[in-house]
Point group: C2
Chain length 217, copies 2
DNA sequence: CACATAAAATGACCGACAGTCAGTGTATTT
DNA sequence: AAATACACTGACTGTCGGTCATTTTATGTG
């Protein structure tokens, strides 16, 4: 009998519909200013129903973050299909990150905001559900980092990256750097433009050049 | 008569005492988990009294941020007394940032958290008091950035920095980078140590080397 | 000292919001 | 037709940031 399956499907659809509604609300109001009632209204469900599908407001937000990470993963995958030198691979990853930022700025913002939220998960007991999300997101981060380490190692072998660099440390540095760059680019947009008369694009473009200098042999 | 002056002094002292108490609470519980009642208890005042001295919970937090920025400013000043080449000055600024991070990690965390808070100040009307804080903090940021731009320009002139770099863009890049680095260092401390077996110190030390490579002529 | 006045401090109260739960409606099964 | 399982609801609760009428304390005056 397909009834159980149909129910399961419908449940998943409703869950996605709630996430759709939550995106609209969170993206327009931000995490703090959005209320669960707002989301419930937008989703055309009562608040109680939302709590049948998600454990908390934060978990709804996390579902959006996961969507963002999936989109980012797709971008990386598309760019890494080609066969490239180590340095070119690193550059593709950087450009991929930027592509994501320009294509999905709201997801990018949400992800950065989430990174900086006060999350105690690790310390708390019995947070099984959220831990799930936590491991998923850090897992994704590690996947990208591993690719980065591997690319730098490959670059050292094929001569496109300086032998003096330590692959692991350099990968962590690049990760931290680009996060910081995109943070500045997205949060201080108006300052950059008003005070320094440069656009986020220009800065990020310059950053890629700058990084190439540092990695080159 | 000195009574008015004494009152003024006492008022300032009480204000500082409240900030002291708030520091204890915020540093141990974080911004979200700390309640105004917690701070009032710690300060041994009633909640109402706190609101005679500060307009909001956020403003108390901002007072702490300002303390942090003052401490950071002192560190920079001490390091820039010496006469240095452009590149050396840039390195001193970087080391100063790191010194601050290791000396006052709680202030650093508070400042990073504040940067990422959803702040609407600019859009809101009649936020005179908070705007004050806002202009103070961005003012401090600009001061450091101006020193950075000037140092890079000097470095290009004295030959310690590559002529190919654009001073303004490079300064913004360095600012974004180091912010990102410290963020990774402070927030992913346990991950760095467990998964990659490197300390924050090692990463930051490597980062300085890496940056020197990129800036060198 | 007694009394008036101003300054400082209080805590009961309010509105907003995340999260809960007893109860209602609807589809499926027997 | 009755029983059961499932989906949904919205009034209610506890918490917390912020307010304000009232009380307490300090200063000034005759």
């Amino acid at each position: 009998m397909g009834i159980a399956e149909r129910r399961e499907r419908e449940k998943e659809q409703r869950k996605q519909a709630i996430i759709d509604a939550a995106e609209k609300v969170f993206f327009s109001k931000g995490f703090e200013n959005a209320t669960v009632d707002d989301i419930a209204n937008e989703a055309e469900f009562s608040k109680g129903t939302l709590y049948l599908y998600f454990k908390s407001k934060e978990e709804i937000y996390l579902a959006i973050i996961l969507r963002g990470m999936k989109l980012m993963g797709e971008i990386f995958e598309a760019r890494l299909k080609k066969s490239l030198t180590g340095l070119e691979t690193v550059r593709e990853l950087g450009r991929g990150y930027m592509e994501f930022y320009f294509k999905y700025p709201e997801y990018m913002n949400a992800m950065m905001y989430y990174e900086n939220m006060e999350i105690l998960l690790e310390n708390e007991k019995g947070y099984a559900d959220c831990d799930d999300f936590y491991t998923k997101t850090t897992g994704e981060t590690f996947k990208s980092l591993d690719i980065l380490v591997e690319s730098i190692e490959r670059g050292i072998k094929d001569g496109s990256v300086s032998k003096e660099l330590d692959p692991v440390k350099t990968a962590i540095i690049l990760w931290g750097e680009i996060t910081g760059m995109l943070m500045v680019a997205s949060m201080k947009k108006s300052i950059l433009e008003k005070k320094f008369n440069v656009t986020a694009e220009e800065i990020l473009e310059e950053y890629l050049k700058y990084t190439a200098r540092a990695l080159a042999p």
